[in-house]
């Protein structure tokens, strides 16, 4: 659904800062109990877009395996954005629910 990917990524990063792309992907998969699967092809462009927008910031860390990984965390702007997206999401879903009930 439109905007839901951004919202989920922001929410996950607000709870667990310092995740890399794969961890975010698996987190969404696990939390949704395998219902939602994020495509790698959309996750990374989304991450990079939000980074450019200044909602999240990234840094490179070296993991114990010696490999470098790019981890993300929320910025102050990202927190505001998350709040806005959450309330918008709430409004949209309740609206959709109302429609489903009435129909």
């Amino acid at each position: 659904m439109q905007g839901s990917l951004d919202l989920m990524v922001l929410k996950i990063l607000s709870r667990r800062p310092g995740l890399h792309g794969y961890a975010i992907m698996t987190a969404i998969q696990e939390m949704s109990e395998d219902v939602l699967r994020v495509e790698e092809g959309s996750l990374y462009p989304a991450l990079h877009r939000m980074e450019e927008a200044g909602w999240i910031r990234a840094e490179w860390i070296t993991k114990e395996t010696g490999r470098r990984a790019r981890i993300y965390e929320l910025t102050a702007a990202g927190k505001k954005q998350l709040a806005a997206e959450e309330s918008r999401w709430g409004a949209v879903t309740s609206a959709v629910n109302r429609v489903l009930r009435m129909a």
Binding site: Y22, E39, G41, P45, H48
Partner: protein, 887 residues
């Protein structure tokens, strides 16, 4: 911040790519560790390339990135097509450089506002008058009594300022032996306040410095002079200098930037108008310009009305004081001449008046050279683009947008224009001062400030941009309109491209013709003018302008002249009021041979001593030279024109004429008859001239009239007359200690100074003509070469079928040469139409002269032949067998 990082990322694109790849790699490794099938994980990413592009586009500024890519690609193209690029860059650099140099000159002399407060409110007064030959001219010199009336009349609407001509004067900070020259202007005391000038040191002149004639010996220096003469010494305030009979005290230095009101001359010293004490109450001595500063809210027209009314009343008063012998027509002309208010935002100077038209015409010529260069580069690029048609088609096929292609080609053009502008800027930086040095006589240190600031830079930048669009837009639009299918198949319609190129060639030829035509007019004007006979022998003659502390009897002057004859290296020496062709003149009414003055221009007069004719080598046709005891107005020697005008060309020796002397007529006997000689300028027709004895009888009483200035005219025997100047200076000072030489000039230099403008016009227009010819030749070559390459298959087939070499030559050149004819015809028409704009600068040259029209045509034809030779040879040498096998 985000934008900034995106702009930065453009220039570290490789790093961005690497990081994207690494992040993806980490992801895949992670997946593998969690037990996913590596192949499946990779497939999940979809097209990695597309994802990378997508992320990349987010991370950097796309427009900038594509621009960067185009610049890099364009630069490679410039390097790849070395010859084309070099030809394009050089021709543009030459044209842009010339344009920028011309702009620098025009801006500095004619456009740049004075560095004063509200320059747009400044005006100056002029009036029309009839000169000696009856032509209408404008004058701007005013007398102080009239200025007072004008200032009073307009005081509610405007402040009037008297500002004298900036002239070089002798002054000394020490003894009389250390005279030096500086440019001085008399200014009304309130001028500096009105112009909003600030002192850099001390104080400026104020209204209280300009009250009583001769009572305010204070001087203010210009910043430039202060730096040059005193090295910025702050103790200069309080120093004294002597100019003439006054000892001035320096009271201050004006802030940097202001160098007087005469564009082209930097004034060094400003003193109050009242210090020109003798002139203040004199109603016949015009010696300054009247500047008008409108008060805020005052209307131009209404101010002008008030000034004109006051001027008219003043003139009515003034003519009453004129003698009864003044011709009525002259009084009428004087009363009728209208007063004009002209803009003085950019300063006012004689140099502006002399060079305004010349510079404008040169500016137009230079503009044409630029157009030729643009046409050239457009042609070169169009030809180049045809060989890139396939590349363009390929770009379109893989999805390049039309805008993107236009951008690609325009960026290439801009690169070329940019390099050309930088080179051209260097050229302008060197050439503008060079042109100024051309028009500045070597012994005249008047200087034109030539700043290279944002105005010039802005002009160059605008020029580069305009030029890019001018020559780049057509090829760019053409490239973007490419039809991939047609191009990939082997060629679009080749004729459409050639039509554009041919039209450009025609335009080039037309402009080239015009430039050549105008250059031809200027060159032959200079030729005619500098070969005008002067009637005297200038080589070897020195003119030593000399002044005395107090007025001296002519006898003493003659003694010094006689002394100079004994100096080794001197062939002969004499006295005159001034040198011939020095710009000075004395013109007066003459009653002779039954003719009264009135319509006629009157006669020139010049006071000379015995031996002057011999020194100048003006041949005596009859009668005798002056004797030592001859005085004016008893006798005179006249020239041929005088005899023609008043005595029907008869030998006038023994006859007489009358002059107006102290409001009474005096009779002058003609004792000598000489050949014509030029008096003031090269351009005017030789006029009736009367040479009269240097010894002039005093109007009152029987003595001789003393004088405090004259010129020694010395003919030397050496090759370089100036080598003798220091000796002569010393001899004069020793012969009479209170005489001092204020200026030494070669007579040949005085003559040459009258053709300086024509020489500059001839030189520069010839230079532009050469550049135009070169550019047009290169352009023609380019077009022909292109058309031969494009038609080599056709030519090969024709040859295989038995066409002869001349058929091929005709076929290849016919189109271009018809363009040549069309262009020449257009150029011819433009040339004839343009004549009236340059007419006043010409001398004895008519635009309709066959030679004037034939010369450019022949030159261009010859150059075209030369330019078309290589492509034609290439066409004839095409090997039909090889050509047919090639495709």
């Amino acid at each position: 911040m985000a934008l900034w990082s995106r702009i930065l990322n453009v220039f570290r694109g490789e790093r961005v790519n690497r990081e994207l790849d690494e992040e993806m790699q980490t992801h895949l490794e992670e997946a593998k560790e969690h037990g996913r099938d590596p192949e499946e994980a990779r497939r999940a990413f979809g097209s990695t390339l597309r994802m990378r592009e997508e992320s990349r586009d987010i991370k950097l500024a796309v427009w900038l990135d594509s621009l960067r890519a185009d610049v890099v690609f364009g630069w490679r193209q410039v390097l790849k097509w070395k010859t084309t690029s070099a030809a394009a860059i050089l021709s543009l650099a030459l044209a842009i450089g010339s344009c920028t140099a011309a702009f620098r000159l025009i801006d500095a002399l004619l456009l740049r506002p004075l560095p004063v407060a509200n320059p747009e409110r400044l005006f100056f007064l002029t009036y029309e008058f009839k000169d000696n030959t009856g032509k209408t001219d404008t004058g701007d010199s005013f007398e102080y009594p009239g200025f007072r009336m004008l200032r009073e009349a307009a005081k509610e609407d405007a402040e009037l300022m008297a500002i004298s001509y900036s002239s070089p004067i002798d002054l000394t900070y020490g003894g009389d032996q250390d005279m030096e020259k500086a440019y001085r202007q008399y200014v009304s005391g309130w001028t500096m306040g009105a112009l909003g000038l600030k002192p850099a040191l001390g104080r400026l002149l104020a209204a209280s410095d300009d009250v009583k004639p001769g009572a305010h010996p204070v001087a203010v220096l210009s910043y430039d002079y202060w730096q040059r003469r005193f090295g910025g010494d702050p103790t200069v305030v309080g120093r004294t200098m002597r100019i003439g009979n006054y000892v001035y005290q320096v009271v201050g230095v004006i802030e940097r930037g202001f160098t007087g009101t005469e564009t082209g001359t930097m004034t060094d010293i400003f003193v109050p108008t009242m210090m020109n004490a003798k002139a203040i109450e004199n109603p016949n001595w015009g010696w300054f310009r009247t500047w008008v500063q409108l008060k805020p809210g005052a209307g131009i027209e209404q101010t002008k009305q008030k000034l004109a009314a006051a001027m008219s009343a003043y003139k009515q008063e003034r003519v009453k004081t004129w003698g009864g012998n003044t011709p009525k027509k002259r009084i009428d002309d004087y009363l009728k001449s209208p007063l004009l208010l002209e803009r003085a935002e950019a300063g006012v100077s004689e140099m502006q008046k002399t060079y305004r038209q010349s510079l404008t015409i040169l500016g137009v010529l230079v503009g044409m050279v630029l157009l030729i260069a643009c046409a050239n580069v457009a042609n070169l690029l169009t030809a180049q683009a045809s060989s890139r048609a396939r590349e363009m088609a390929l770009r379109v096929s893989i999805g390049a947008g039309r805008r993107r292609l236009v951008q690609l080609v325009l960026v290439e053009s801009a690169l070329i224009a940019l390099i050309a502008t930088v080179l051209g800027g260097l050229f302008a930086w060197w050439s503008a001062p060079f042109v100024v040095s051309l028009i500045n006589p070597p012994d005249n240190p008047a200087r034109l400030a030539l700043p290279a600031d944002w105005r010039v830079l802005g002009f160059a930048a605008a020029l580069a941009l305009g030029v890019t669009l001018l020559f780049g837009l057509a090829p760019a639009l053409r490239a973007s309109a490419v039809k991939p299918a047609a191009a990939l198949k082997g060629g679009e319609d080749p004729h459409s491209r050639r039509r554009l190129m041919n039209a450009l060639v025609a335009a080039q030829v037309a402009f080239c013709f015009l430039v050549h035509f105008v250059a031809g007019l200027f060159v032959s004007t200079f030729d005619r003018l500098s070969n005008q006979p002067t009637g005297f022998v200038a080589e070897g003659v020195l003119v030593l302008e000399t002044s005395a502390k107090t007025t001296q009897d002519p006898v003493y002057w003659q003694q010094v002249a006689d002394h100079l004859k004994t100096v080794p290296g001197v062939e002969s020496a004499a006295l005159a009021s001034w040198g011939l062709m020095s710009g000075n003149g004395w013109s007066s009414d003459v009653w002779a041979g039954g003719k009264a003055p009135g319509d006629g221009p009157g006669s020139y007069f010049l006071s000379v001593s015995p031996g002057w004719l011999r020194t100048m080598k003006i041949p005596l046709l009859g009668g005798r030279d002056f004797r030592a005891d001859d005085t004016y107005p008893k006798v005179a020697i006249v020239n041929e024109e005088f005899a023609r005008l008043y005595f029907d060309g008869q030998n006038p020796v023994g006859k007489w004429f009358e002059v107006d002397r102290d409001k009474e007529k005096a009779r002058v006997e003609i004792v000598g008859f000489v050949k014509d000689a030029r008096y003031r300028t090269m351009r005017e027709a030789i006029r009736a001239t009367a040479y009269v004895p240097f010894r002039s009888a005093d109007d009152k009483g029987g003595g001789l009239r003393p004088t405090d200035w004259a010129a020694f005219i010395v003919r030397t025997t050496g090759a370089e007359p100036l080598a003798l100047a220091p000796v002569l200076r010393k001899e004069i000072r020793e012969a009479r200690p209170d005489f001092r030489v204020s200026d030494v000039q070669r007579q040949s230099e005085l003559v040459r100074s009258h053709t300086v403008r024509e020489r500059m016009l001839a030189m520069l227009s010839l230079f532009f003509a050469a550049v135009a010819l070169l550019l047009a030749g290169v352009g023609l070559y380019g077009v022909l070469d292109y058309s031969v390459i494009q038609r080599q298959r056709e030519i090969g087939i024709r040859m295989a079928l038995g066409a002869q070499a001349e058929d091929i030559v005709k076929r290849v050149t016919a189109e271009v040469f018809s363009m040549l004819i069309v262009g020449s015809a257009a150029g011819l028409a433009m040339g004839i139409a343009s004549e009236r704009y340059v007419e006043t600068l010409l001398y004895q040259v008519k635009a309709t002269n066959t030679a004037m029209l034939l010369m450019p045509a022949l030159t261009i034809l010859a150059a075209s032949m030369l330019a078309s030779l290589p492509p034609v040879i290439r066409a004839v040498r095409i090997d039909p067998a090889g050509m047919l096998r090639a495709e």
